[in-house]
């Protein structure tokens, strides 16, 4: 069953057609990668999933509900979490506070005037946040200010924040961009482990082919705003259209 369905989506900015008749289905419980060369429209497509952009035409449905005209926080409350290309975390707060915030959002909804009870008395939230930090191996950094961490740790923290909401769909925008090799590998391991343990559906936008082929169960290739191929990793690897999109016109022409 597909959890995210994109049908005939078009989006243009002025004269530039960023997306043309994009169709995509993300199956529940899988890791689905969206790849493509620079400027193919990957980020535009992702922004249409989370409510940052509204497609000109077409539909985006999640879990049977349309995502069009919904605000980012409403979409998140439906169960879609997003990891950004550069980690978006609360840099002035401690690691623990960072993880508590999504736990509050999950429990209390998009707004709750909870202005009297001390945070230290919210034991259910604290337990949940602590468990999450143990799960991602960050419990020793609990009281660090988030801005003082390495980039890999920031990514890990952002992932923990998203996972603490137990989302139905996790969107990852180049989760390993600009990372050192060791950090990239540990991120891949983390994602694999999460997938195995929690069976969360993931949609990944990625440049790094190594990451894509070691994670994805299905791959869509985007080039110049259209999906040129959607298949299993092995089929994609040998697809001539994909090679062409990445390397330019085939040599025999």
């Amino acid at each position: 069953m597909s959890i995210l369905e994109v049908q005939n989506v078009n989006k243009s900015f002025g004269g530039l057609k960023a997306l043309q008749n994009v169709n995509l289905k993300v199956e529940e419980g899988t890791i689905h990668a969206i790849i493509g060369p620079n400027g193919a429209g990957k980020s535009t497509l992702l922004n249409c999933f989370v409510g940052k952009l509204v497609p000109d035409t077409g539909s985006v449905t999640f879990d049977g509900q349309s995502l069009l005209q919904k605000k980012p926080h409403e979409i998140n409350q439906m169960g879609v979490s997003r990891v950004f290309q550069t980690p978006e975390i609360f840099t002035d707060l401690t690691v623990f506070e960072n993880v508590m915030i999504p736990c509050f959002a999950k429990r209390d909804g998009s707004f709750e005037l909870n202005a009297w009870k001390p945070v230290t008395r919210e034991s259910d939230i604290r337990e949940r946040a602590e468990q999450m930090l143990i799960d991602v191996n960050m419990i020793d950094k609990r009281d660090m200010i988030a801005s003082s961490m390495s980039r890999g740790d920031k990514r890990r923290l952002e992932m923990a924040m998203c996972l603490s909401q137990s989302p139905k769909l996790l969107l990852l925008d180049e989760p390993t961009a600009g990372m050192a090799r060791a950090d990239t590998e540990s991120t891949i391991e983390l994602l694999k482990e999460i997938q195995a343990r929690l069976k969360i559906t993931m949609a990944i936008i990625e440049h790094d082919m190594g990451v894509v082929f070691s994670l994805a169960q299905k791959i869509s290739v985007l080039a110049q705003g259209t999906v040129i191929a959607e298949d299993l990793p092995d089929a994609i690897r040998s697809d001539p259209r994909v090679k062409e999109a990445y390397l330019g016109t085939a040599a025999e022409d």
């Binding site: 926080h73 979490s81 997003r82 609360f90 002035d92 707060l93 945070v119 909401q165």
Partner: protein, 395 residues
């Protein structure tokens, strides 16, 4: 204690002790001594300390936590004052209904202004609040003061007249009171060369400030306070975490507006007069200075900042040329005159210049305000202790 952690309990007790003992603490110099003019222990000034303390505590909930810099909070202070004086005019001089109405009216007013201004952030938000506050000032100053409909009494300021309705008028109580205890009654205690003044109005305001300080600690430590700090740090992440930032910022705006209204109501309760100048942008700027000077985002900072500014405003402006001449009369005349000439610019009517210099020094060398300074001193002492401990050989 009171659901506070150890450190907050300490801060809270510190505030209680200082405010309760203020008539002593603020009055360190004997009445007849030359230093007596630096005493701040007289009712009028002490009332200002705590009332502007309330104003700054509330402002800090908005600015210190969310980072939204409002340049129009004096409008809520002014609205609170008008509401309180109207209660005096219509009901009686009892301050309870006056304070209740001033908080309610300021709350409604800030809900309306906040709803419109919070559609923007950063400098645009500041400019919008400034515009609204200046509009309120102009409306109070002239528009709502005409013979047909006189809500604010324009330039003269709103005050209570003998022929006002006063439904629950009590004879002999012609100044604000709390169930018969007059705000302006003062008990004087003479101890040796010192005179200490215990004023009812001050203690009523002080109790209100202590309560409001407690409320602000609870807000700071609550999940709501955590969300407000998150708003300051990263709104994008907050939105993509399923939280709607607008109601959070609006709630913070309204809470701080109600604090300002309460402060305005108390000002009117100490002196039953409300003028439009209370809403002017300089008054809004003053609370911004207080908060930054004391340390935005800290619990105690705004109270210290309010005290600091009100102290220098009152003490420096009292030092005129005559006082200066008296100080330097033992010097040769040419030196006396030139010293007075120099200091003339910094005291008396020139006190703004001194305040400006102090503000610059603090912001440049202590970006976190007075609280930053206090923390550095504390850390220096702790560091020295640690060094001493390290030197003593282990047993």
């Amino acid at each position: 204690m009171l659901n506070l952690n150890q450190r907050d309990t300490g801060t809270f007790l510190f505030v209680i002790i200082i405010t309760v003992l203020a008539p002593f603490v603020m009055n360190p110099f004997p009445t007849e001594s030359a230093m007596a003019q630096f005493n701040a222990g007289y009712p009028d000034l002490m009332q200002r300390f705590v009332i502007f303390g309330i104003f700054a505590i509330g402002f800090n909930i908005l600015f210190g936590l969310t980072g939204y810099l409002s340049f129009g909070h004096a409008a809520f202070l002014g609205v609170g004052s008008y509401a309180a004086v109207w209660m005096f005019k219509l009901l009686s001089y009892n301050i309870i209904p006056a304070l209740v109405l001033s908080v309610i009216i300021a709350g409604i007013f800030s809900l309306f202004i906040g709803f419109l201004c919070l559609r923007r952030s950063g400098i645009y938000f500041s400019i919008l609040t400034l515009a609204f506050a200046q509009m309120s000032f102009a409306i109070a100053y002239s528009v709502l003061s005409n013979p047909k409909f006189n809500l604010t009494n324009g330039e003269t300021g709103l005050q209570v007249y003998a022929d006002d309705i006063q439904l629950f008028k009590v004879e002999n109580l012609t100044t604000p009171h709390l169930f018969g205890v007059k705000m302006n009654s003062t008990y004087e205690l003479t101890l040796g060369a010192w005179d200490f003044q215990f004023n009812v109005g001050y203690y009523v305001s002080a109790v209100v400030m202590i309560l409001m300080f407690y409320v602000s600690i609870r807000i700071f430590r609550s999940p709501f306070g955590l969300m407000l700090r998150a708003v300051k740090t990263n709104q994008t992440r907050l939105n993509y975490t399923g939280l709607n930032t607008r109601p959070y910022t609006l709630a913070a705006f309204v809470i701080s507006g109600m604090y300002a209204g309460l402060a305005g109501g108390l000002l009117a309760s100490m002196d039953p007069l409300a003028g439009a100048e209370r809403m002017q942008w300089t008054a809004s700027g003053e609370v911004v200075l207080m908060t930054i000077l004391g340390g935005a985002g800290t619990l105690l900072g705004p109270v210290l900042g309010a005290g600091f500014i009100k102290y220098f405003e009152n003490i420096l402006s009292k030092i005129n040329d005559n006082v200066l001449h008296a100080w330097f009369q033992y010097l040769p005349e040419w030196l006396e005159n030139s010293l007075v000439w120099v200091l003339h610019w910094f005291t008396g009517k020139g006190w703004h210049l001194t305040l400006g210099l102090l503000f610059m020094i603090i912001v440049i060398f202590l970006p976190g305000g007075l609280m930053d300074g206090a923390n550095r001193i504390r850390e220096a002492i702790r560091g020295r202790k640690a060094k001493k401990n390290a030197k003593t050989p282990a047993e």
